[in-house]
């Protein structure tokens, strides 16, 4: 149950940042996860009126505000066109429309949840996060950082010509993923991320070789570690990782052919 003594709708990032320096403060995302645990907070800080709920696109990048809903991500034409529909694929099984209308990119990324489809997908796109104090850093680095009291302002995805594909397996359609796999290819490099291992996604890169996809996929998958949880065992996840990586390679390969 979520408890807070005070609610503040921040007028500026600086105000939000200052308020957030107290250990008892909390930044509100979509409130999806926050309200589930036993959370007794002092000040709940709302960023919803700072104009951070949109997606900006220019020639070089997409800038996604931390209060942007997962639903916007799912439906954004530019993002999906540029990345071959991965954003729809990595969001559409997350609980339901109403959930995705409320859940935010910032909440999803800042939480660095093991089950996060979003984090997994962002990793293979080599996205960056813009922190209010910490500046712009690669998402893979951010995922490894300790939780601190900075503010995640935006997520930035560069238009660097990579193409990406995404897939997940779930026990029921809108469950957490049992495994979440993302793969991108750019200039002879595979960018692979696997989430729900059940630990959070990590990024692994490897050169594209002449080996059959099956072999390359297995090699990639073997570089991840897997563990048991309610939804599946580490062994099974390892088995799946190889298969899905191969399929994503094939998918990207096929698209290559189509492009030509």
């Amino acid at each position: 149950m979520f408890r807070a003594k005070e609610y503040v709708r921040a007028k500026s990032l600086q105000e939000a940042y200052d308020l957030n320096q107290k250990r008892s403060s909390v930044l509100l995302g979509g409130m999806m996860w926050l309200k589930m645990g036993r959370n007794d907070k002092g000040t709940a800080i709302d960023l919803s009126e700072l104009g951070l709920d949109g997606i900006e696109e220019d020639e070089t990048e997409f800038r996604i505000g931390c209060m942007c809903s997962l639903r916007r991500l799912e439906q954004h034409e530019g993002l999906n066109r540029y990345f071959g529909g991965v954003w729809k694929e990595c969001t559409r099984f997350i609980v339901g429309t109403q959930f995705r209308n409320t859940a935010t990119v910032g909440g999803s990324v800042f939480g660095r949840y093991g089950f996060s489809d979003i984090l997994t997908c962002l990793m293979v796109l080599d996205a960056q996060v813009e922190l209010y104090q910490g500046g712009i850093i690669p998402i893979a680095a951010f995922a490894g950082m300790k939780y601190d009291r900075d503010i995640l302002v935006r997520v930035i995805i560069r238009k660097d010509g990579r193409r990406a594909a995404y897939t997940s397996q779930r026990r029921s359609k809108t469950d957490f993923p049992l495994i979440a796999c993302g793969l991108a290819r750019k200039e002879g490099i595979w960018y692979a991320a696997i989430g729900a291992r059940p630990e959070k996604a990590v990024l692994v890169t490897a050169p594209v070789t002449e080996e059959p996809f099956e072999v390359q996929a297995k090699e990639l998958a073997d570089r991840f570690c897997f563990r048991d949880n309610l939804r599946g065992s580490g062994d099974y996840r390892r088995h799946l990782a190889g298969i899905y990586m191969r399929r994503l390679m094939e998918q990207l390969g096929e698209e290559d052919l189509e492009c030509r």
């Binding site: 709302d46 109403q98 209308n101 409320t102």
Partner: protein
């Protein structure tokens, strides 16, 4: 703290706590159609529209609704009835506990998607759980409703 919202088209001023959930505020305001089926944002029973978008009112702070417009099933009786008559005709109301959330999300879907196919319908509504019907009767009702609406539109 005090907030001002537009609830079903009417201005409402309410005294709330910082951590009051929108769901609880709405029930306090007499919008009993808003139900709670879980505490984990999974069931869809508490669906309302926040500035026209369907959201889970169990996961929105009432404070965050300050200055915004909320619609519950009570606020759209005509639109709701136009669809719910189809549910009733299928016997797909059953216990009725999940119906308000479903109806609001179907109306939101209608606004958002043009001529959705079955997969789109199922995906849009997947966050509305129902334990009575196995979903088939609801799907029949939705199809018939959408058919009647597109017919209606053609005629207009």
């Amino acid at each position: 703290m005090q907030i001002k919202i537009t609830l079903n088209g009417k201005p409402v001023t309410a005294e709330i706590q910082a951590d009051t959930l929108l769901l609880d505020l709405l029930r306090e305001q007499g919008c009993y159609s808003v139900k709670r089926g879980c505490e984990t944002s999974n069931c869809g029973l508490c669906t309302v529209w926040l500035d026209q978008l369907p959201v889970l009112s169990c996961s929105v702070l009432a404070a965050r609704a300050d200055g915004h417009a909320i619609i519950t099933l009570e606020g759209v009786p005509k639109e709701a009835e136009a669809f719910s008559d189809y549910l009733a005709k299928e016997g797909a109301d059953q216990c009725g506990f999940c119906s308000p959330g479903l109806i609001l999300n179907v109306l939101a879907m209608e606004r958002e998607l043009t001529d959705p196919d079955e997969e789109q319908i199922l995906e849009f509504l997947s966050g509305n759980l129902c334990r009575c019907t196995g979903y088939m009767g609801q799907l029949r009702a939705i199809r018939n409703y959408l058919k009647s609406r597109s017919k209606h539109e053609r005629e207009v």
